[in-house]
Structure formats: structure tokens, C-alpha cells
């Protein structure tokens, strides 16, 4: 018998018991839609994190001062003084494929205007930072190489700090603020950037030249970090390795006692998304349990169906159906049942994902992978759970089946 006829017969048999078919398919519908929703929530979260990390710029390598032995005292991360501007110059000179490099010194401080004050993060950076993070100014301009070299007392405000000190939407360029009792001239305001990957508000900050932070505010020689952007197409892992070995050499590091850390953006992404990936798999796994339960429902109903139709099977065998024909008939019926359930579940899962994104504000994303997977799963469940009943039907003795009451 042709596979097409087998399909028609299966559809006919399923239509005959419409209510039973609907209830059996419901198990698959719930399972598939649950898997789709869970995976889409997970994927949405993942792509949001990836977008956040991308917003910090692309091809980024971060160098941070690490912990290291200071005599007998072991200092915490970021507290070593061994990372210096000379290291930055050496990296610029000796590591190939670097486009921009911005040394950084961070201070937490109170910023004071004429009328009010605001506690925020002061970031001492190089003039290349806006280019690295593709972050333009909204008002005025960022400081240049000149201000960095001369340790100029100029500041560029994040939009939140501007809002707090001068009021939303104002242009404070040219105004004066005080940081740790030093007067700074406001020369620009950054455009809004939003939350960073870790959740902190990137707009709640003030940028000043790192040299100014070193000399005028802290009186130190070292820097706390470097943000490096590699040329497009240069493998970040190679840049990372080159920087690591250069710094080890310069810092006379013994063994693996690095007093710095070098992280690439890829590593950050992996680190940040691994949690969501775990959650996604966990949720999808739980949802998959309902898929298995749906499959058992199919098996159950197919067994009932085989028993009910024993005489029909006997008749078909006596009219020349081969055992393969009977096997296929019931197997196709189970697969059609699970695929129909899967297709409806897919539609519901799509709708629910959209609804969750729309009304609960969670980022959701239905990927073609999830769609293919749930379809494959439904078909596989149909075959797996349909096989036993179908084989039972095919193994019937024609005469006993015909006589079955």
C-alpha cells in the first residue's frame, strides 16, 4: 500500500474518534508549547545579555590589575600597583593588531555643583574610550590627547550625573564642578547608553583623563585597568595571549602568579550566558517531561485502538495486507497524532512566547532550532510510542483477530 493511502487511512481513523484524538493530542500540545516557551525565554535572555556585552564595544580585551604578593601581604583584586602606563605603551608598541587602548583609573567620589552634589563613579580614561565603546557625546565633546597629556581638569558627564547636578536635558558645557575639592570644567555630556551586562547604569559616571585621576586626585603612578580594542578580524585569543606573555615578562611573574588578568569579550559572553544556558536547559528539560507524558498518552490510546480494531486488522490481513502494512498503518497513525499535536503546540508556543514578551516585558525569542527540535521530538515520540502498539497489531493471527469479540 502506498504511503499516501496509509496517511489517508490514518487521518480517517483519527477523525472517527475526534474527541479522543483531541485529548490525546492535547498531551503533545502542552509538551511542545511548554518546550517552545521555555526555550524562547532562555534564548531571549541570552540574546539580551549578548546585546549588552556587545554594547560595550566589539573586539574588546580587558586588562585588570590583579592580586599579587606585596611582601607577606596578599592583596585583593585590583589592589596591586604593578600595572602601569608603561605597560600600556609597551602593549601598544609590541602587540600586533591593536586599534585602540585606553588606560583606566577608577575612583568613587562625590561630585559637587554650585547647587547640589551626587556620589558617583569617576572613571579616569584615555581619549580613545568613546571610539572603543562607540559611544558619542550628546553635548560638547570628549577630552582629547592634549588634555590627557597635560592632566587637564576637564570632565565629561554621564547623562544621569548631568540630570542629577544640572537637571534633565540641560547643557552644562562650560559649567564648573568640584571633585574631591578640585575644580573641573565640564566639557561634554555622553549620550544615554543604559544598563551594562552586569546591571550597573553606564550613564551614572563621570569621565576625566586618567592622568588627572592619577596625579590630581589620587597621587599614584599605577593604573587599575586597560580597555583594548583589537583590529577587526584579529583573533582575540591571540591578542590575549600576546598581552599576557608581554605583561608576565614585564612584571617578572613567576609561574602562574599573575598580578593582572586579561579577559576577552568572548570569555565574558561565555561566562555571562552560561547561567542562562543552564537555566534554559533545565526549564526545557522539565517541559520535555510533559512531552514524554504526552507520548505515553499516545501509546495508551494506540493500544486501546489496536484492541478495538482487532477484527478490522484480521479482516485486512485476510484481504492480503502484509504485516508491514498493518504496522505502518498504526505507526503512521501515531506519528500523525503526535505531529498534529506538535504543530498545534508549536503555534500555541509561538503565541505564548509573543504574549510573554509583549505583556510581561520578558525578552523572548523563538529560534528555528527550537521549532525543528520540537517537530523532530514529536515525530520521534510518535514513532517511539507508536511502535509497540503497531507491532502488536501486525503480529496478530488473522483468524484469531477475525474471531475477536
Amino acid at each position: 500500500m502506498s504511503i499516501f493511502m496509509t496517511f489517508l487511512i490514518a487521518l480517517k481513523a483519527l477523525r472517527r474518534n475526534a474527541m479522543r484524538t483531541a485529548l490525546t493530542a492535547l498531551g503533545m500540545i502542552i509538551g511542545v508549547s511548554a518546550v517552545i516557551v521555555m526555550v524562547s525565554i532562555g534564548n531571549g535572555a541570552r540574546s539580551q545579555i549578548e546585546a549588552n556585552i556587545k554594547s560595550a564595544g566589539s573586539n574588546i580585551v580587558n586588562v585588570n590589575a590583579g592580586s599579587g604578593p606585596m611582601g607577606p601581604v596578599r592583596m585583593g583584586t585590583g589592589n596591586t600597583t604593578s600595572l602601569r602606563v608603561e605597560d600600556a605603551d609597551a602593549i601598544r608598541k609590541e602587540v600586533a593588531g591593536i586599534r585602540y587602548l585606553s588606560p583606566g583609573v577608577n575612583i568613587r567620589a562625590q561630585v559637587v555643583s554650585d547647587t547640589t552634589n551626587w556620589g558617583t563613579q569617576i572613571q579616569g580614561t584615555g581619549e580613545e574610550l568613546p571610539a572603543i565603546r562607540s559611544w558619542p557625546t550628546e553635548k560638547g565633546s570628549f577630552f582629547g590627547e592634549q588634555e590627557v597629556r597635560s592632566a587637564g581638569k576637564v570632565a565629561v558627564l554621564g547623562s544621569v550625573v548631568r540630570d542629577q547636578l544640572f537637571g534633565p536635558g540641560t547643557d552644562p558645557t562650560g559649567a564648573s564642578i568640584r571633585i574631591r575639592n578640585q575644580p573641573f570644567k565640564v566639557i561634554g555630556v555622553m549620550s544615554k547608553k543604559g544598563q551594562a551586562a552586569m546591571g550597573q547604569d553606564q550613564d551614572d559616571t563621570v569621565f576625566i583623563p586618567y592622568t588627572t585621576a592619577q596625579k590630581k586626585l589620587l597621587g599614584i603612578q599605577h593604573i587599575s585597568n586597560m580597555v583594548i580594542q583589537a583590529e577587526d578580524g584579529v583573533p582575540l585569543s591571540r591578542v590575549q595571549a600576546a598581552i599576557t606573555s608581554l605583561l608576565r615578562m614585564r612584571h617578572n611573574v613567576a609561574g602562574d602568579q599573575d598580578d593582572f588578568s586579561v579577559r576577552t569579550q568572548d570569555e565574558m559572553t561565555t561566562m555571562m550566558t552560561s547561567t542562562t544556558d543552564t537555566m534554559t536547559w533545565l526549564l526545557a528539560g522539565i517541559a520535555a517531561v510533559s512531552l514524554v507524558v504526552g507520548g505515553i498518552g499516545i501509546m495508551n490510546i494506540m493500544l486501546v485502538s489496536v484492541t478495538e480494531r482487532t477484527r478490522e486488522i484480521g479482516l485486512r490481513l485476510s484481504l492480503g495486507a502484509r504485516d508491514v502494512d498493518v504496522l505502518l498503518q498504526f505507526l503512521v497513525e501515531a506519528v500523525v497524532l503526535s505531529l498534529v499535536g506538535g504543530a498545534i503546540g508549536l503555534a500555541i508556543g509561538f503565541g505564548a512566547s509573543y504574549g510573554i514578551g509583549r505583556f510581561m516585558g520578558w525578552p523572548t525569542q523563538v529560534t528555528s532550532n527550537a521549532v525543528l527540535m520540537s517537530f523532530g521530538f514529536s515525530a520521534a515520540i510518535g514513532v517511539f510510542f507508536g511502535f509497540y502498539p503497531a507491532r502488536k497489531a501486525a503480529a496478530l493471527n488473522p483468524i484469531e483477530a477475525l474471531r475477536y469479540e
Binding site: L315, R316, L317, S318, L319, G320, D323, P398, I399, L402
Partner: protein, 254 residues
């Protein structure tokens, strides 16, 4: 007869195992059937006549003995080859009709064609022709529950014939029918036998039904007790005419 026998059985036995007990249904049946014969298998219930017919129809395997169908040893055939035999060489008619409910007469008759290599277009034409041959050309789309018992049995006969088998096996085909429809059905068998040369084997326990055949084989306790030709064969067409005349007479006097 000069032709080679169509069916040859030698010492055919069949023993069923019911729990711990062995229940012999056939105790050695040796028989030959030639092409064009119309054989009635009779005997009381439990005599083994139905079991024997199931063996002939390749629906069941004998416990011992040999069965040659059209020169081939059936025991040597694969299960797929047996399916082909049931599909193309043998037509079955059952006591309970065994039509698929909620399925039209036409689709019921098409059923054996689904399992042979007949194209979809030809299926419809052949099933229609088979139904027309049994006088149901106007009821192609009727479902079994819209047909009388006699009509249902005729659909079943059309189904048995649609693949042009050489042998027609009928297991108590008139068991569920009234006497008039029984005569009609026997008439169809006689026509098929005489006009198309189809070999008919019929299981019945009714003596008068057996007399429509050309040869009666009676079974008892799993053995052939008697095997003789029918001396005064009944003709269904004549009987039907007489039946109708009598019915007419009764209605007139009533």
C-alpha cells in the same frame, strides 16, 4: 477430470493448545479440489470444517501434513507470499460480512486493491464494476448500516471478487440471512462458478444450502466422513422463482 488439481491436502492436522490441553481440530484430512468445482463442506459445529477452510485460505498454518495450492507447497511460502495469495488468488466471504463500518460500499470493495499494485484510478473502476456485478451499482456510497443483510453480503462478495481470484472461500455465508436472501446469494455463487469458472468452497451446516454445490464433503470430529457428488443439484434461479410465486400466492390468499 484431466486438469491438475487446484488444492491438494495430505494428512492435514491442526491441534490447538488451550491451556494445558491439546484440542485436535483436524485429525488428518486428505482431499483434492479441481478447478471449477463447487464444494460444500458440511458437518456439525466442531467438526473441523471451518478450521480446514482457514488452512485452505492461508489464514492459519497446519500442525502437520501438507497443503499444495496450485502446485506450490504453502508451508514453503514466506509471510509476504502468503499475503499475496490471500490478496490475489483467494476471495473470502464471511458469515458476519466483516465490512468496515462508517466506510462506503465502494471503499469496502476497494480494500483488497489497496494491498495490491492497482493504481488509484483503476481501483474505483474495478470496485464499481464488482458492485455492479452483484447488483449494487446504485448503492456505491451507502454505508453498511444503510444496507440490508443480503446487500451487505453482496458487498462482501464484490470485495472477494474484485481482485479476480481463482478460488472463493465462503464461511457460512448464509448463516445470518433469511431464506430468500440465502437463495439469492447462492444464486450469485452458482453464476460465478458456472460462468466465470471460479472454484467455490462453501462451509455450511444447512443441508439444503449444501445442495446448491456440485460436491458435498462432510466432516466429523476432524476427519472427512463422506465425500460425494450432489445427485439432485438445486438451481438457485429456479428456487427463487418458486419462492416468489409461493410468496405471491400467500399474499393473495391472505
Amino acid at each position: 477430470m484431466s486438469l491438475a488439481p487446484l488444492i491438494v491436502t495430505k494428512d492435514l492436522t491442526k491441534t490447538y493448545h488451550v491451556g494445558e490441553m491439546d484440542v485436535p481440530a483436524l485429525r488428518g484430512v486428505t482431499m483434492e479440489v479441481y478447478p471449477g468445482e463447487f464444494v460444500a463442506l458440511t458437518g456439525p459445529s466442531g467438526s473441523g470444517k471451518s478450521t480446514f477452510m482457514h488452512m485452505l485460505g492461508c489464514l492459519d498454518q497446519p500442525t502437520s501434513g501438507s497443503y499444495r495450492l496450485n502446485g506450490r507447497d504453502v508451508a514453503q511460502l514466506s509471510s509476504h507470499a502468503l499475503s499475496r495469495v490471500r490478496n490475489a488468488e483467494i476471495g473470502f466471504v464471511f458469515q458476519g460480512f466483516n465490512l468496515l463500518s462508517r466506510t462506503s460500499a465502494l471503499e469496502n470493495v476497494e480494500l483488497p486493491l489497496l494491498y495490491s499494485k492497482v493504481k488509484a484510478r483503476d481501483r474505483r473502476a474495478r470496485a464499481t464494476a464488482a458492485l455492479e456485478a452483484v447488483g449494487l451499482g446504485s448503492r456505491l456510497d451507502h454505508h453498511p448500516n444503510q444496507l440490508s443483510g443480503g446487500q451487505q453480503q453482496r458487498v462482501a462478495i464484490a470485495r472477494a471478487l474484485v481482485n479476480n481470484p481463482k478460488i472463493l472461500l465462503a464461511d457460512e455465508p448464509t448463516g445470518n440471512l433469511d431464506s430468500r436472501t440465502s437463495i439469492e446469494v447462492m444464486g450469485i455463487f452458482q453464476t460465478l462458478n458456472s460462468e466465470q469458472g471460479i472454484t467455490v468452497l462453501l462451509v455450511t451446516h444447512e443441508h439444503d444450502i449444501a445442495e446448491y454445490a456440485t460436491r458435498v464433503v462432510s466432516f466429523l470430529d476432524g476427519r472427512v466422513k463422506a465425500d460425494h457428488p450432489v445427485t439432485s443439484r438445486r438451481d438457485a434461479a429456479t428456487d427463487l422463482a418458486a419462492f416468489l410465486a409461493q410468496r405471491h400466492e400467500e399474499e393473495r390468499t391472505a
